[in-house]
């Protein structure tokens, strides 16, 4: 067995962005949101993820702006650390080690150097009791600081961060337990508790769900299970406290926030309606309905310009303060279950799975962004429980990504199953899949498997589907029978059966010369060319649940997992059983880029992973107790850049990532130590040393000043990212002359704009010539490809230089010359002038 010391299971990509309340930066430009083990910084204007703050080694449970510095943010995690970030540049400033898992974080401007965290009362992990702890952050310059000064403030509180809140100016902290409100005053060291009855006669459920405090007045707003909002006042009296009740929500209020001025109260719940109450004029409300999913968190930017709501469908909606949606940040939609497998779209390498009802979502794992949704069912979805509606249950891509097959079904009653098989062709112009063929009722029973052959030349013309009605069908792309029809469509080519057994799974071999179909206990091997049954393999008892051909050097092996807890490996050359091992395989998967296979085994309530090569007796990698419950969805995602790890245990991750979905719908993957180190190292680098904002104007002027100071250094730069304006004298004039002697602005403006323009001296022939050169260059030096795209064209070509030098020089010299040619020589002109 191989140790898995340096391979770790992490949340990476597609993780929840609605887990905790996001934080909006003071200027409302950035949105910080906890996403798995990193904090993502989104731009509120463009919805783009700017960067991810990496460093935590467990789930992040809270993000908070630092009250004393609005360019810094705290994050806390279950790994027991609080980290301070410079979120605009993505730099980790300091790590405070606490030592206990942290479930939430609070801070207040009045409590300088103190943060408040939620930790378990007892050190054992499954403790249900939590406490609020004040942590005095030591003031020292080191990177990693151990915070030892802890003092408990409130005990026995809820682990939900929404159930506690700081009051006006940090004078008190409020915490809600199921039926009790506790207010702790820091100055007096005194706490008051107010109790509610469990239920009242009218069916109200008084359990607290969330809490928030008015920023300038002494008023606490609490949300309740039955949709009521209570506004508590006078809570510094044990008896004369009072509250008023607002009721609009019909089920639990999940989040409450006051706007920074305290003029409005925002509330949200399952209704997916954002309600804005006027403070002190509560009969006036504004609504923002149809937000698409239950609201789980609301946050408000410190300047009050933006609100944002997190939704249960892993979405963050950014809302302007005039209650208008301005942007939507959508994460990977994870419903309560996934019917389709996890798939990789071969063109974009996007992860494909069920998304919105009736849709397939295309999710880019590299960019961690939802690309688009493809409407498969093309029928309006009715949001009402108990209705039988069409669901996408199966999908498959062919090897080149030009075809997509989907199966949708609607079950009203068991005998009247409605099935549709749809085939979608990739349209290069639309850059999307277009419906090609709809086959209604392709089988009489439910379809159990769908498979395209792996054709390398790109022209897929076959699809195999197996069904509970005892048949498997091969579908063929055929030219239309009627000549006036515009394109080819799919039709049934072959119908196969074996002893009226039910086929459960099918698989094409790597070269698509063989098709294996598992008919309960029997595996039949067919040749698709002539649809001949070549051989049958079987290993009774137990039906075959999963079939998988080996790849590359192991393509002679066929692996099958049976329900009788066996994993069998047949050698197709000898048609005999190569080896068999006893394990309850819930999912068998082959890496398309290597010989490796992954088997998820269900053992004693949790899942183990084995990665092996069919030809070798020893597994490459094993991981016991990966997660609880069965893993039924996993996928190998090809890497963009191959890793060159020679470590035995992590070698199998060189070509592909392995993503899998746990029963609790968490998308997890494996990460090697080396990769992790690389990530943390890159995040530690200072990106910009200057404290000046990087405006285009700064780039223009700042660079110029550098040049003037040391022109030699500039000449040594191999790559000049920003093209230098040819005559910077105009700018100098503009900036250095006293204002009262300057000519009119309109005159200056045209001069300034002209100085920025690229002067085109040479006619277009030279450009053409150069383009050809560039292309040839690309072929020669692939590794430089990325750089070249950024290099701007030099405007002053020493004419004739390339022409005379070309024939005599060697290849290396040519390359060197080209490099020189690409340099910016405008400074020379300046000197000459």
């Amino acid at each position: 067995m191989v140790e898995h010391g340096d391979v770790r299971v992490v949340h990476k990509g597609g993780s929840k962005i609605n887990f905790r309340e996001p934080a909006l930066s003071t200027d409302s430009r950035f949105l910080l949101c906890a996403s798995g083990e990193s904090v993502k910084v989104f731009s509120t204007a463009t919805e783009e993820c700017l960067h991810a703050l990496q460093g935590h080694t467990d789930l992040i449970t809270g993000v908070l702006l630092r009250p004393s510095n609005h360019l810094q943010a705290y994050s806390c995690s279950l790994d027991g650390t609080v980290r301070l970030w410079d979120f605009t540049d993505g730099i980790l400033i300091r790590t405070y080690s606490i030592g206990y898992p942290i479930y939430g974080i609070y801070a207040s401007a009045k409590h300088e150097g103190v943060i408040f965290i939620i930790t378990p009362m007892h050190t054992d992990t499954n403790s249900e009791l939590f406490q609020l702890v004040a942590v005095h952050l030591p003031q020292c310059g080191e990177q990693l600081v151990e915070a030892k000064e802890l003092s408990a403030v409130l005990s026995n509180i809820s682990s939900n961060p929404a159930a506690s809140a700081f009051g006006r100016e940090g004078q008190y902290i409020v915490s809600a337990k199921p039926l009790q409100l506790e207010v702790y005053f820091f100055k007096k060291h005194k706490s008051y508790s107010f109790f509610l009855k469990k239920d009242n006669q009218k069916g109200g459920k008084n359990t607290f769900t969330c809490i928030t405090c008015h920023p300038t007045e002494d008023c606490i707003a609490s949300g309740h299970e039955d949709g009521k909002i209570r506004l508590w006042r006078n809570f510094n009296h044990r008896k004369e406290y009072t509250y008023s009740t607002l009721h609009w929500h019909h089920s639990a209020v999940s989040s409450l926030r006051f706007t920074p001025e305290g003029t409005n109260l925002l509330s949200g719940g399952v209704e997916s309606v954002l309600v804005q109450w006027r403070y002190n004029q509560e009969s006036q409300r504004d609504f923002l309905p149809r937000l698409g999913g239950a609201i789980t968190h609301i946050s408000v930017s410190p300047d009050g310009a933006l609100f944002c709501t997190s939704h249960s469908d892993n979405k963050i909606t950014i809302i302007q303060s005039c209650v208008k949606v301005s942007a939507v940040i959508q994460g990977l939609v994870k419903g309560d279950r996934i019917r389709t497998d996890l798939m990789i779209e071969p063109r974009s390498k996007a992860l494909v799975l069920n998304g919105k009802p009736g849709h397939l979502q295309f999710y880019s794992l590299q960019r961690d962004k939802l690309l688009y949704n493809l409407d498969i069912v093309q029928q309006e979805y009715i949001h009402e429980s108990g209705l039988e509606q069409f669901e996408v249950v199966m999908a498959a891509f062919d090897a080149s990504g030009s075809w997509l097959a989907t199966v949708e079904e609607r079950k009203q009653k068991a005998p009247e199953l409605e099935l549709n098989l749809k085939l979608w062709a990739f349209d290069d112009q639309k850059q999307s899949f277009v419906l090609n063929t709809t086959i209604s009722a392709p089988h009489e029973g439910r379809i159990t498997a769908l498979c395209f052959p792996h054709v390398s030349d790109g022209q897929t013309t076959m699809l195999v589907s197996t069904s509970r009605d005892g048949h498997f069908k091969a579908w063929q792309l055929a030219a239309p029978a009627h000549t006036e029809d515009e394109g080819p469509s799919w039709s049934c080519d072959f119908l196969g059966a074996y002893h009226s057994l039910v086929p459960e799974c099918c698989c094409f071999s790597a070269d698509s010369s063989l098709l294996a179909v598992g008919f309960q206990e029997v595996v039949t091997v067919w040749t698709p060319a002539s649809w001949e049954l070549l051989t049958t393999l079987s290993q009774p008892p137990g039906a075959v649940r999963d079939l998988c051909f080996g790849r590359l050097s192991c393509s002679k092996y066929l692996l099958g997992a049976t329900t009788s807890r066996l994993l069998c490996c047949w050698n197709l050359l000898t048609c005999s059983l190569e080896w068999v091992t006893s394990m309850d395989v819930s999912l068998l998967l082959a890496d398309p880029l290597s010989e490796n296979m992954a088997a998820f085994c269900f053992e004693a309530g949790s899942t183990d992973l084995f990665v092996f090569k069919p030809g070798e007796p020893r597994p490459l990698f094993s991981h016991k107790a990966l997660c609880s419950g069965r893993v039924t969805h996993a996928v190998f995602v090809p890497r963009e850049v191959m890793l060159e790890s020679c470590d035995e245990a992590s070698q199998w991750l060189n070509c592909s990532h392995l993503y899998f979905l746990t029963q609790s719908m968490d998308l997890l993957t494996f990460i090697t130590k080396a990769e992790e180190d690389k990530l943390t190292a890159s995040s530690k680098q200072l990106v910009v040393s200057d404290d000046v904002a990087m405006t285009p104007f700064h780039l223009l002027l700042g660079k110029h000043r550098d040049q003037l100071e040391n022109p030699q250094a500039e000449s040594r730069l191999s790559v000049e990212p920003i093209r230098q304006p040819s005559s910077s004298a105009g700018i100098n004039e503009l900036l250095q002359m006293p204002a009262h002697v300057l000519p009119s602005a309109s005159f200056l403006c045209s001069m300034f704009v002209q100085s920025l323009l690229i002067s085109v001296n040479k006619p277009s022939e030279q450009n053409k010539e150069k383009e050809e050169e560039m292309e040839s260059e690309k072929e020669e030096e692939d590794s430089d490809g990325e750089m070249e795209s950024r290099i701007s064209r030099p405007e002053h070509m020493p004419s004739g230089e390339s022409g005379c030098a070309a024939p005599a020089l060697t290849k290396e010299e040519v390359r060197e010359l080209r490099r020189l040619k690409k340099l910016d020589h405008s400074w020379m002109k300046g000197l000459l002038d």
């Binding site: 007045e217 009740t245 002190n280 004029q281």
Partner: protein, 647 residues
């Protein structure tokens, strides 16, 4: 306890009248309630909210407002008269015509020297309060449109008047209008806004409630609107301010009472703001009248119930004081029973009904009615005055009733289906209204069965027993004895037919037994006082309104209030405080020997609810007169329409 044949009577169409106005006198803890039929009821809040006095109404009297001035009660109504009531003789003392058309409101200044009334013709009239009467003093500036509401500034220098579409502030000295605030409905300018209620606070704040559903807070000096609370889609009908001016309640047409509190927005500072806090929903119809006592919100309205809702921040939690009280029925019996003849006399404000009970001959748990109950007579009262009280003799041949001005006696003859009624002339009616040494009216009378004794109780708690035997001889009422005065007012008294003990039940749920022979409390009464009554018994919130005895079992006493009836077996031990009071169901399940040990004197039956009366007939059958609440509600006009969620 025994088994009884029960006549479950539900044909008494008793319909209480809507509450129109209320006034609370903090010094005497008396609440005056004016009803739609012109009756005024006085509740003693210091004595378990007991309804001590009822001044019967008149059919032409419509009271719009009530006002206490130093223990004197004034009312004004649409008849245009101001009436002062004689709270001892329970009738109007005098009435003064205001000559301004119907009067909508009446209010006295805090110095209690002037009475201001708002009239239909737009005048505020000032009346000086003299010792024995009131005298017209002056008119304030006459306005266009009626004066709906009035409120004095606590200093007495200014008076705020709510009118249609505006609020005016008058100088009480000069009578000039100093400030006019239009409270017109901006969203719908065509419709008029009626300012139903105003309240003038000592910090020069005026709070108004109007027909647009708004409670508005104004600065009386500058006339600016400080805050506007929209609390209902319908009308805000009433406002009431607490004594310390920290809390205001508003009653709406939806039946809700909304509380506003002056709270500091930040702790430790004095910038109080009026914040809407609690909402009480105890009514189904309009809340017309509101009172804010120190500890409770008292509200009444169209649905005829008087609701006392204690403010939980002012009283101890989980005590008797913190319980919600609803006063549904009068605290006196409106039903009289001829126990020999099986007749029931029902008292209505303007007539009496005499019914014969139905009959049934079968045996079993549920007896089918063989002979329907039958209405024998409806006796209509002549004149405008309403009936105060009525009685029928046990034999069923005499019926008597009285109004404020007269007593009438009728002789009935019921002979095989023929009914004849004859008005008897009362030859010499010696009216004595009070006991020596007390001016309070007598509210309870009870004669012993043999006609020898007459017990009378007044609202001061005095109980006197007279010897009637000697009356026959000397035509002079001879005082037999006086009971020791107990602090709480008696709610029911009765003399035992065989032992001659006088049993009295009081508003604080205490029970006393007094031997008329020995002129002292009996041993049972002493032991009851020594051991104390069961806490659950003391927590009941309706008074005992009738006491009866069983001739066959002299140890049994029948008592009832609105929600239970009880038989006290004086031969059994009294219940211990820690034992279960309502143990009838438990006793059925245990063995007879144990049952003997477990059983105690109080046997309580809660089978009948909303009880008006229970009588024991001579054939040992019980007559239970119920008035289910649903029947009353069904006779009320429909409430304002409210949008209910998911309808």
């Amino acid at each position: 306890m025994g088994e009884f044949v029960v006549h479950r009577v539900r044909f008494f169409d008793y319909m209480p009248s809507a509450i129109r106005a209320m006034a609370f006198n903090g010094s005497t803890q008396r609440l005056a309630v004016a009803r739609g039929d012109g009756a005024v009821e006085i509740f003693n809040f210091a004595d378990n909210y007991f309804q001590e006095k009822v001044i019967p109404g008149r059919s032409d009297r419509a009271i719009e407002a009530l006002c206490w001035v130093r223990g004197r009660l004034f009312s004004a109504g649409l008849s245009g008269e101001i009436i002062e009531y004689d709270l001892e003789k329970l009738r109007p003392r005098y009435s003064v015509e205001a000559y301004g058309g119907p009067i909508w409101t009446i209010s006295s200044n805090s110095q209690e020297t002037l009475l201001g009334v708002g009239c239909e013709d737009g005048t505020v009239k000032m009346f000086e309060i003299l010792e024995e009467r009131i005298q017209f003093q002056r008119n304030l500036d006459r306005q266009k449109g009626r004066i709906i509401s009035l409120s004095w500034h606590p200093s007495g220098a200014q008076i705020a008047a709510g009118m249609i579409d505006m609020i005016r502030i008058f100088d009480a000295e000069t009578g000039k209008s100093t400030l006019k605030r239009s409270s017109q409905n901006r969203t719908a300018p065509k419709t008029h806004v009626v300012v139903w209620s105003v309240a003038f606070l000592s910090n020069d704040t005026v709070i108004s409630g109007d027909s647009a559903g708004k409670v508005q807070i104004w600065d009386a000096v500058t006339g600016t609107l400080i805050r506007n609370h929209l609390i209902t889609k319908w009308d805000v009908l009433g406002l009431a301010v607490s004594q310390d001016e920290s809390s205001v309640i508003a009653g709406t047409s939806e039946g809700t009472v909304v509380q506003f509190q002056a709270l500091a927005s930040t702790m430790g500072q004095e910038n109080n703001q009026w914040v809407r806090t609690r909402t009480f929903k105890n009514h189904t119809h309009d809340v017309r009248a509101l009172v804010h006592t120190d500890t409770a919100v008292v509200s009444g309205g169209m649905d005829t119930q008087l609701v006392v809702r204690p403010l939980l921040d002012k009283v101890e939690k989980n005590t008797q004081e913190s319980a919600l009280r609803k006063i549904l029925f009068p605290h006196k019996s409106l039903v009289c029973c001829a126990r020999k003849a099986g007749l029931l006399l029902f008292q209505f404000p303007d007539h009496l009904e005499l019914w014969r009970l139905g009959e049934s001959r079968q045996a079993g748990d549920r007896l089918p009615v063989m002979k329907n109950p039958e209405k024998l007579i409806q006796l209509q009262n002549k004149g405008e005055d309403h009936i105060c009280c009525s009685a029928v003799s046990p034999c069923g041949s005499w019926v008597a009733f009285s109004t404020v001005s007269s007593v009438r006696l009728y002789k009935l003859q019921l002979s095989n289906g023929n009914i004849s009624i004859k008005k008897m002339l009362l030859r010499a009616f010696s009216a004595f209204l009070s006991f020596p040494g007390s001016s309070q009216p007598i509210h309870l009378l009870s004669a012993s069965e043999n006609g020898n004794w007459l017990a009378a109780a007044n609202t001061d708690g005095q109980i006197h027993v007279f010897n009637l035997h000697k009356l026959k001889v000397s035509s002079y009422l001879f005082l037999h004895c006086t009971l020791p005065v107990y602090s709480s007012c008696p709610t029911a008294i009765a003399i035992h037919p065989t032992t001659g003990h006088l049993l009295s039940a009081h508003a604080d749920q205490q029970i006393f037994e007094f031997s008329l022979k020995l002129k002292e409390y009996t041993a049972w009464s002493r032991s009851l006082q020594r051991e104390g009554l069961h806490p659950l018994w003391l927590q009941r919130d309706t008074p005992i309104t009738h006491i009866a005895f069983n001739r066959n079992k002299p140890a049994h006493v029948f008592l009832h209030d609105a929600f239970m009836f009880c038989i006290i077996d004086q031969s059994l031990p009294l219940p211990q405080a820690r034992k279960k009071l309502y143990n009838q169901m438990d006793l059925k399940t245990i063995s007879p020997q144990k049952r003997m040990q477990e059983s105690h004197a109080f046997k309580i039956c809660k089978m009948f609810q909303h009880l008006l009366s229970i009588h024991l007939l001579d054939d040992s059958s019980l007559v239970v007169v119920e008035r289910p609440l649903a029947d009353i509600v069904s006779q009320l006009p429909p409430p304002v329409r409210q949008k209910k969620f998911a309808t």
